[in-house]
Symmetry: C2
Subunit: 246 residues, 2 copies
């Protein structure tokens, strides 16, 4: 689907009825962001540009997970992203907006009927390396609160993805550490939990909780040049986590 160039040759599609879409969530220390790609087109003689989730029809020689990984790899250059499949969308009218149909057919260069999409979710660190690759693909991070009307049913998919994260994190909160950089402060960690769970967390109780998590290890390093007491950095140690839990 990432085709505006026209003459690139693509591997054969498995069929034009099945796609994957990826909801990639990143945390910048303050807000949750979602990775979106720009879509340009013309409808009724008027140019428009809006955004969509990264996605693609699936190729003949790949399975669903593979297709989702490929989409993200093409976009970010990253290979080993943890992806969770979370839902299929196949409503008859999800490709009913003529704008969407026309855009697809031009991008796809084929008649498009009904498409079922399998949606994937990834939690990643926002990272300089990724950002460069994103620019090249006219894609970028958009704060969740600033997301406007997206193509297809992608607003729905995004909303349900956020619900899914919340539920999944309830069972296994450790997955959320994928959102954080290698070093993070206690309040970044807390802010992240607050954003996911949607409610404030008591600061003192939160510090107690961190202290109990042996896999969150305090570093000697502290913030530099901030206009207040410098915060300590912590890191997430997956080895310790794997050893003691599960």
């Amino acid at each position: 689907m990432e085709s505006m160039q026209g003459e690139v040759i693509y591997p054969p599609l498995a069929n034009n009825h099945i796609s994957v879409d990826c909801v990639v969530i990143g945390f910048d220390g303050t807000q949750l962001n979602v990775l979106l790609v720009n879509r340009h087109g013309e409808e009724d003689g008027l140019a428009y540009h809006d955004m969509k989730l990264p996605g693609s029809l699936i190729y003949q020689d790949e399975d669903l997970d593979g297709a989702a990984l490929r989409v993200l790899n093409e976009l970010t250059g990253v290979k080993n992203i943890k992806l969770m499949q979370f839902r299929a969308y196949g409503s008859k009218n999800r490709t009913s907006d003529p704008k969407d149909v026309h855009w697809l057919e031009r991008a796809q260069q084929a008649r498009v009927e009904r498409i079922v999409t399998i949606s994937y979710l990834a939690l990643v660190k926002i990272d300089r390396a990724i950002d460069k690759s994103l620019d090249a693909h006219k894609a970028g991070w958009v704060p969740l609160n600033d997301v406007k009307r997206l193509a297809f049913d992608h607003n729905l998919i995004l909303t349900e993805a956020m619900h899914y994260i919340r539920d999944a994190a309830e069972v296994n909160p450790v997955m959320l550490f994928d959102l954080l950089p290698r070093k993070f402060t206690a309040s970044q960690l807390r802010t992240m939990f607050e954003l996911i769970y949607g409610h404030a967390i008591d600061v003192r109780n939160f510090h107690k909780k961190i202290a109990m998590m042996d896999y969150v290890v305090p570093l000697e390093e502290r913030q530099q040049g901030v206009a207040h007491r410098a915060a300590r950095y912590y890191k997430f140690d997956r080895k310790i986590y794997n050893k003691n839990r599960r």
Copy 2:
């Protein structure tokens, strides 16, 4: 897919790449059972018969949820089954066994390539009315422990469905009441939880827990003609549940 008759006319398929499969779990008071349909065929000149999950390719005029509901309605006659979509299966080699391919092509009367299936989960009461309809379709309840090798990747789907139930019930145990008849004893309820969670539950603590759930209301009715102290019946009151929780 439920076609052994040959001359029945079916509505047009959306395409032959997308299907739904239903994992329907029922509880008989002692064991968990799954609803399976018989599959008959011939391969290399040898007749075989095994079992599969109920499923179907999707028709043009229905969406995914609709297709799953149709499958269950055709099979059981029941209309308002609560279905949860839980995962898509689209591995390239899920239709690699020649036996499966041949069977599908005969049932489908069309060339079959790759099929992505969207799997659904339902928890239902085992019920006389359903059972009659099942006989007519050569389908039936099979205790989970007695499930043999199933068609396609249906063993995988079943296994993952059971995991899914466990996780989902952890967040929202009330969904499990769908498995129970209108009247049930405390030990039936306990047995059900034990089967889902895979471990024994202390009897006294369990009674305390029931007592705290205002939506599990004790009835005056008791078991009849059992060779031990007769157990009290309880019922699940969804109105009370909806009022006080959520």
